[in-house]
Symmetry: C2
């Protein structure tokens, strides 16, 4: 149970990483780990880890460390990964299709329930067990089904229009892979924009700049 | 020309975003912009923008603002996007293939010069004008050609081994899309790991948590 109601976004953004590392430990059969060992694995300090986890009540025991499976499960609940939110993906081109096949949606708290595209050559095809629907059916689909987030893989020039249409259908959370920073006016709306090329440019700087590594983004 | 030799990684990580927004302004034919207008576009404060750009000598003029095309060009040079670094991509599955087609490599400072895979069904195929080579030819290729970065789209369980092989071939910069946090011991090595699902989990938290938006990661 959360100890503090307010948890900084920096801490929240580190939680998926904790979750990932704890999952790896579980797979390797590790049952307990000290904050020092976990810190070494994750390139953090033990005190940072203790501080982060104290936001939610701690979970560690003096002299024992962390119970890997319990902590993994708590973080899963804190993130809400157990709630089975519904996601749809719009734009089943190369990138969209790759995500459908690559991303572990259920492990990330979502069930992928709909795929949409405008391209007649794609409509009706099955991808990862889901039919590609006509983008014109989007609003009907959103009326008839709960949609918690929309993943935007559409071309940049239709990104904002697509977001506007979805907001009108009641969808207020967006994972945006277009190059365009969509703007949403809805008070409850949340947007996570991923600009893949930004990471490549930052890497370019590091290769140029005497290969001096940047600190991990703070997250 | 840089004013300060040391620029924080937070500033560097914001530069691609400046570059992107300035590029959009250029496309729209905007020739000058005040720090206040740019701040409103980018959801930053004017003082933040002035501070960031002062790290490299400023570029703004009192009462005029920023010359969009000059500033765009300066940031391009600071990031090293004009240097034509060579990138190879290993693992031409769904995700790798999507990146080849989706990412603007040349706009991000890189020329994609080689594609590699182990799958006989893919070897020899042409993707975006490049032949898919046998992963066994990787070391020969790296000996005969300059390779500045490797983009890893291989399965997680071979990520570390692939990185080790590449390090031995002299490749020291990695853009890592596997789920595995690769470790590189080389003193000059730089790694940018992208864990797409982490963003989805952070979004899950926001959907759960009364849809309270997280602050933009600090970058």
């Amino acid at each position: 149970m959360p100890k503090n109601q307010y948890v900084s976004s920096a801490v929240i953004r580190r939680l998926p990483r904790y979750y990932r590392f704890l999952g790896e430990l579980l797979e390797r059969g590790v049952t307990r780990i000290s904050s020092k060992e976990l810190a070494a694995m994750m390139n953090l300090t033990a005190s940072q880890i203790r501080q982060d986890l104290n936001c939610f009540g701690g979970f560690g025991q003096q002299g024992f460390g962390y119970h890997v499976s319990l902590l993994h499960d708590e973080i899963r609940k804190i993130l809400g990964l157990d709630q089975g939110f519904r996601a749809i993906l719009i734009g089943v081109g190369n990138l969209g299709r790759a995500f459908v096949n690559h991303i572990d949606f259920s492990g990330s708290g979502f069930v992928l329930t709909g795929l949409f595209d405008k391209n007649p050559a794609l409509i009706g095809k099955q991808i990862a067990g889901l039919p590609v629907r006509d983008a014109d059916e989007l609003s009907t689909f959103c009326q008839e089904n709960t949609v918690d987030i929309a993943i935007l893989c559409v071309p940049s020039d239709v990104a904002q229009q697509t977001a506007n249409d979805l907001i009108r259908c009641g969808v207020t959370a967006f994972w945006n892979f277009t190059q365009y920073d969509i703007k949403v006016e809805h008070p409850e709306a949340v947007v996570e924009s991923v600009h893949l090329a930004d990471g490549l440019m930052a890497l370019c700087y590091q290769v140029k700049d005497a290969r001096r590594p940047l600190e991990t983004p703070e997250p």
